[in-house]
Point group: D2
Chain length 381, copies 4
């Protein structure tokens, strides 16, 4: 098995999830290319070294530009906050590296488009890590919808709700600062539900009307708890839209007590419906109108059978997977794409398509009007 | 126990539910006034007589004007389609009858206001039958929210989904004809979720942005299945709004396979959250942030204990109630209001407040703009 | 519609449920015979009169022997504690009355057999009111099992759990006194699960091993709370058994906090499984091994569609039924059997079959040995 | 961080789960000792080498006796079928190795006692890998029960159901052969539920009455599908028992369609109840009778908060764990016990206690009588 050296820029929560995925991939998805956790990059040497030790990386760098310039690196994996995605990804692509970038692809549509423009001529593989696409239940849902099991699609609805900032004393961390995070619940959670809508239904959101709310407008500074600072991002975002004839409804919030990491979605079509809840990610519910009427019900399928996507690589039926497994699937399939040269999704075009919707949501919230998603996305698809 | 004569105008689905409630009320909620099912009114004599026999009414009339004029009638209960509510209710009130009207109060805000204007000077009791207010779990939820258990309210969201017209061959019945029904899913289902939002949160929806969709634009005529007729009402309506600082999100549809009569709602506040599902109407889920952290969870309360609203009149704990019981609660409390002269809710002002929101939703759908709910409602409240 | 006069002996909890059923039956299940709530019988005149007023009975008697002797009575409905079932039912049958008896049929197998021996020559209709047989989901389950949907039956398991006597200060009411109640959880709850096993699977429990436990051995007297009296019945009973090759497992208890009226059951067969929970009695879960593998799941069917048993008489799909509805179904079908002369189940033979199992459970608990159910039952079936 | 060399004997399903745990432990639970996956042992060189490559072991051996004799090995981890546990574990202990053994500890009580007798004088750490003890929800449940949250314990009940051999054409693999597997569902699944009962309640099962059933008595041979061979183990086992005053009920089966790896349990006590379902292993349901009555319900706690056991080592709240995580917890705590010299549970005494119950179940099934669990277990505890 050939090896390829991976460099990861950043090392917080997502750094842990990506590192785990790089480590696990070859054990559960042995393929033509084996990833080597070569170098981790963080600005502070000591912290980066600690991360390297715990997460299993061989070397440490403190300047991402040096990482990108290293000839031994084959893949650059970006897990920094959104404001630095574009610069790093563009440089990496121009240096001929394959690039993985955490979601959302960028903090703005313009940056996302610049990233897309950079990777295409570079001929490198590129992926934005919308991890939920590779939850087995989500891939199964996609297959079924593509195969027509739901018939004509009428409605898509999704909520992605969390509660980690309900306490008004929760500090004003970087995720609540627009200059770094770009947006709040919208970019963090909304990006996921928009992408999963695109992925599952094969339809792009075309126009939206939205409402963005910052209900707790100031919070204590992390390092200086007696000083309050303004929250410059949204706590919650609601938007309704159309994707072709299909209606779409989205709500994301970080102020929903009891919703920890709760992405719920439902799709209604002329032949049936699907439901999913990320906090029970091993289950997919399917209502099938083609069954005899007395038998129609919500069929709760435990997506852990050998016939289900990804499962044969893991455990026997009924032995459930967790949050981190889809990252492993993503890395395994990325390595295969690198080895074989094929396409891989979600790529930067998919990432930009998502950014285009977020962009329209922000413009709609500002203008109070229905807003078209910028047309490039449909064209490039 | 004194008796009061009731007349019911109409006798379809809602007529069955109201009749049952009138019959059951004195057995489970014995009070100062006992209703006598005196007269049922329908245009076709034979059908009305059949309804009278099965539903337990003593007499039949075929002209509602004669009913309203009868001096022996104390209560007029209107279960006709929405286009005749105003005329009958106004006449009944002017004749000094206490009036119950099925929801929505009227097909338009103007009619609703005219009805309200008629009942006030008449000094009669008036109620619009938003039956879900008297589901025990809903009254309990209201009590808890009023008592501050959820703290400051952040979000309200509700879906009311059904699937009875998914089949494109389902005929174009009167509910799909705007001249009779006023609107489609919006007036039928949306009225319920707007009212329950008002009831539970104590906040009126103030502005909305909406989308109304007719996804199956024509259907066979009921009596002439080979001829198609246009569907002139909405199959689905989505709207987002504000009620004070609280965000609100609503979606109603009749094209959601597997959703039979499925009103689901969730309310998030600074201290906790509530969830409810009408297809499991005996249950209320409560997430309480004031509990010790390791104990916080979604507490599924079977609302059938003696401490819960209405329950002591029925069965022991765990013996669940069904769809029709809240109608019994409504009639019992209406009779008590008639006997004692007090207020009863939801009254015609509550009904008009709901109509005002539906009116704004329709205007927003037409204009594509955020739309203020007409100001009268807040003023009259 | 012809009328038949009904007399009800007793008027406590079950009296309310039966009265309601008699009142409702003709409105929702109009048939050849209309029941007239003629006379209610209770030992204390005043209390009986109050019950008559609230429950809708025309007359009051204080001696059941006089009721049974009245020539105008067609049906005698017995809702007294188990110790008087046999005497009343036998007298009623001998007087030519059709007889309905609350479950369990009797406090002992001998009494049950005597009752059965009395009704057979009398040529009257007889029914023991195992109400759960007529929950729509249960009748549907029975139809499916009969039709072979589960294939060969491997396992039956059921728990019936309540919690109303968890508090050790709960008084020693009659249900905790063996001389009146016969047994505790076993006769009250165990009777239901044994009967539902017989009904659903068509197999009789043939031998059992059991454990009966009285975990709170004394309690305050109802009328004299400072005096303790021994609890002479079981708080809980566990038994395992065979019914043909099928295994069967039963557990009943009144000491299960959070279980209010919670009968849960599951049946596993070679082709599929069924699950049911009485606290969600409108739902039936079906796992169908004949479906394509990737689609197999627990199909949660809301048993409220027009194709489902009893439903067309009630409300549209999704409008759920409650605890009391199966009683209405029972009375409606009993009236039809009386009118047409046919068989009706569960009859006294079914009741005796259940008593035979309870009898074996009690003997097994006393002896500590596996115990055969007495052979008569299989023979009479 | 010091290193310790681990050797694993066997490499099938459990070998994958253990290997993963050894690899993951130092990344998520960095501790004083770092495990080195030194040698894997399998009888067939080629297969063992393939396992080593995929699972991440450095060397391969084909004779476990050589492994046990190697001075560089610190921990021997046994994942072979039950018939070889005793011989290997005893030799390993006598060679001074710390020993981990898959469950059940042995195929017979005598072997288990011999193993226990061997590890004690050897002064080594010993653990039997009942992995479910380290599901966060199970540790939390144990803590709560120990702290008295359930009050006095009345009832324990558990089912462990699977369906992988429902098809009668499923071959007669080694797990269906008594000479290798010892027993069927009883040893495989029953061992888990007995151990979890002991763990959670702190009470040992003392006497049992049981029923063991082989419902599909012969199956095709794996390598010769046209020849049938007898199934010599149980497909299902049911047993009821006492543990002090607490009643206990257990059912295990491999013939339960739709139950993939479904261990469900419930414990009822005077102050509350707990429920758990392994297919939703991140959730724990708690009914708390000490709450105000109108608030009492089944509190579904997503056991993924920083306050919950093991969680701070993994992901933020709401990011669920899967089947394999408890193995990581077990290895991490075992390494700590080795480093610090303390006790660790479940040890071989816990394993033998479980075997003692299984032994009584088998004797009861054979004799048809209530059977005491052999007394040693209580004494040694």
């Amino acid at each position: 098995m050939a090896e390829i050296n991976v460099a990861m820029i950043g090392y917080a929560f997502m750094g842990r999830a990506h590192s785990n995925a790089w480590r696990q991939a070859p054990h559960f998805f042995p393929g033509p290319l084996k990833p080597r956790l070569k170098v981790i990059c963080g600005r502070r040497q000591e912290a980066a070294q600690q991360a390297a030790d715990q997460l299993g990386w061989e070397e440490v760098e403190t300047d991402w530009r040096r990482v990108v310039a290293r000839p031994d690196i084959g893949i650059v994996d970006i897990v920094t906050p959104g404001d630095s995605h574009a610069e790093i990804a563009i440089a990496a692509a121009q240096a001929g590296k394959h690039v993985i970038c955490e979601k959302p692809l960028a903090n703005s549509l313009d940056e996302a488009l610049a990233m897309l423009a950079a990777v295409k001529p570079a001929g490198v593989r590129h992926m934005v890590l919308f991890n939920y696409r590779r939850v087995p239940a989500m891939r199964l849902a996609r297959q079924w919808i593509e195969a027509g099991r739901l018939g004509r699609l009428f409605h898509f609805r999704a909520q992605y709700l969390q509660d980690w900032i309900v306490d008004p004393q929760f500090p004003r961390v970087w995720r609540l600062d627009k200059t770094i995070a770009g947006s709040g619940a919208l970019g963090d959670l909304g990006a996921h539900v928009v992408d999963i809508c695109h992925y599952l239904t094969g339809r792009r959101v075309e126009k939206v009307s939205s409402l963005m709310a910052t209900l707790i407008p100031e919070r204590p500074l992390p390092d200086e708890p007696r000083r309050m600072a303004p929250v410059t991002v949204d706590d919650a975002a609601l938007f309704i839209g159309r994707a072709g004839e299909m209606t779409a409804q989205f709500e994301v919030s970080r102020l929903a007590p009891g919703r920890k990491n709760c992405l719920t979605l439902e799709i209604n079509g002329s032949q049936g419906s699907l439901r999913f809840n990320l906090e029970r990610l091993n289950e997919l519910e399917f209502y099938d109108r083609t069954q005899p009427e007395e038998l129609q019900g919500w069929n709760n399928i435990l997506v852990t059978d050998a016939r289900h996507p990804f499962i044969p690589h893991w455990w026997p039926a009924g032995h459930i997977l967790g949050y981190e497994h889809p990252f492993v699937h993503a890395m395994a399939e990325f390595l295969e794409a690198v080895a074989k040269g094929g396409e891989i999704h979600p790529d930067f075009a998919d990432g930009a398509a998502c950014n285009a919707v977020l962009d329209a949501v922000e413009r709609s919230a500002a203008s109070g009007a229905w807003t078209e998603v910028k047309a490039w996305a449909a064209a490039m698809q």
